[in-house]
Symmetry: D3
Subunit: 136 residues, 6 copies
């Protein structure tokens, strides 16, 4: 069993705001992230799959297919978009790095042919990232 990880990038806007909190609580909790005009990031995504190495191809998973799946399911949907306003899973869920990791897991979980999704890592900035391994 071996793990293979492929990175991808997307650039999006978001803000942090909960309708369950008062405006004052939003500002206290989220600070400048609560600005409703939005701010943005260059996100870096790492998708890790696990599986057996195919003895003929030497691959766990076909690299071209993996890249296509990541782009079709995630990058094409998130890139150059406002996550809160344009991506359905963030209509009522705040697009924190934690929630991005979970949402991307759900988008990719059943899409990898012949291997198992092992981990989603998402960097919001080079000094902040989340890891999600699915439900135990």
């Amino acid at each position: 069993m071996i793990l293979l990880t492929r990175k991808a990038e997307f650039s999006s806007s978001h803000y942090y705001w909960s309708d369950q909190l008062s405006p004052e609580e939003n500002v206290r909790l989220f600070g400048k992230c609560a600005n409703r005009n939005g701010h943005g990031h260059n996100y870096t995504l790492e998708v890790t799959v696990e599986g057996e190495v195919d003895p003929v191809s030497g691959f766990v998973v076909d690299l071209k297919e993996l890249k296509e799946v990541i782009h079709r399911e995630v990058v094409d949907v998130y890139d150059h978009r406002h996550l809160n306003l344009e991506v359905p899973e963030f209509k009522h869920v705040i697009p924190t790095t934690e929630n991005l990791a979970i949402a991307i897991w759900k988008r990719l979980e059943n899409q990898i042919e012949g291997a198992k999704l092992h981990r989603i890592r998402i960097y919001e900035k080079p000094d902040l990232f989340s890891d999600y391994y699915g439900e135990a």
Copy 2:
């Protein structure tokens, strides 16, 4: 004479849209950057100053002061903001990397004590950046 460069970072939203172009022309020219909901980046700024090394301090410029100026004049104004909607110089100027470099030059040009501003470099993403050296 020596050059000293200090980096800083900010995360902002923007979009590319010109009122001098039709909606169709905006989309043709700017592609997915024309999305009016905005998208965003982690910008990396390099501010380079030139001057003589002070024989006592060994500094071209006081590092703490340089850092404060960059934050007061640029980072505090741009970070976690929507550049088109909240930063006055981009009300009628598209915040491309080229125009960001020029705008940051103007903000810093007369603010560096005891040294001369030499270059503004701004990365929109790790693979795209602009350099501005002021008017010749």
Copy 3:
């Protein structure tokens, strides 16, 4: 359950020297690291916490609080310091990357509100790092 990682940096001096070894043994074992004048590094610290995502905030842990704890407990104590001479836990313990990981774990273990410390990773240089997950 999800993991969140935040990086921080500090610049410190240290040397490798054991009073349980003769000077010759120290030099043989530690080479140029045994220089008692000290040498130094830009350390990069990764603090990983694990927990449940709060359904309102979307956070495992409040990012501002996490940053404050890391600075108060580690960066403010280690940064611009000589680890052997000024940091109590290295009076009789050599500040190798391994021992730094363990010491930082102990400093942070009981300080993270609402989440569990999962891993300390510390880079001495970009090509050398240690990971510590606490006592099993």
Copy 4:
């Protein structure tokens, strides 16, 4: 117990080609990687060992010895070589990142004095890497 990771680099040529596939199948599966003239990469290797910290030295493993082993067993054999043509384990095994991770594990598994090999990570490019933890 603690983990220590050391990086190393090597620059090699390779191609992807299986004699069990027809030329057309090789091209369909491997695309431009099937070019028999070869192409190449700057590989980055991370070797992680696990063990107890020696109370005198503060080391899991002697860093100079670890570096020597990595160079003797891997870098000296792979660097500036054509992996398919000059490295015996890739005579009949395609040097994908997955197979490189397994091959390097086998080369290092019994060579680390006083610690256990924990993980081999190999980057073919900054956006593609494999991890191998040995046979479970």
Copy 5:
């Protein structure tokens, strides 16, 4: 006047060998780079153009067009190729980083619409690169 730089990457094989030198001289001068089986690198290319900022678009040069030109003229020709064996300009010229910078300059010099090529920077590895500014 402003400078805009865009990066691109390609992975190629090469070797260093001059027919004007004896085999012994080739080995003495080029060391392990003289291995005729070839070795390879992940090259990073920086293409810098200079020009005026268009007052409507905010661009020095259309980014999509610049990217297309770099791919058509350089990446599609060099990537996953053996530079000595498959790229015409290196049939009798050794593909050192210096010669790569000059060759890429010639490929791009007259291809940039509306701006002037300013500099070619090419990294063979993260710690080695060449810059070429054209004939003075």
Copy 6:
């Protein structure tokens, strides 16, 4: 004419302290850098040489010789040393990044066979560096 740049790294201790200033003035000017126990950095050095490409070798300068000169003149003298206490040029000159750039220029200026030293760039940290081009 072409430029070739090679990087090297060294890890050193230093402090900022001027005997021409009172202790209070040193602390006010240099802050935590004035700590006489010292602190340290992983320095990254870029040495850029300029010259003509040799038509036989394809080199501006022999890479092995350039690497040897950088190590003999700079890395072997600075690495794992306390710059103020052990490196002669910093006995009475504060080892700021500016002064390091000038000192390294002087060490290398007349040591490059067949090419001209063009620029010394020295990073104290990834976000702070100095450039020196010699006396005009």
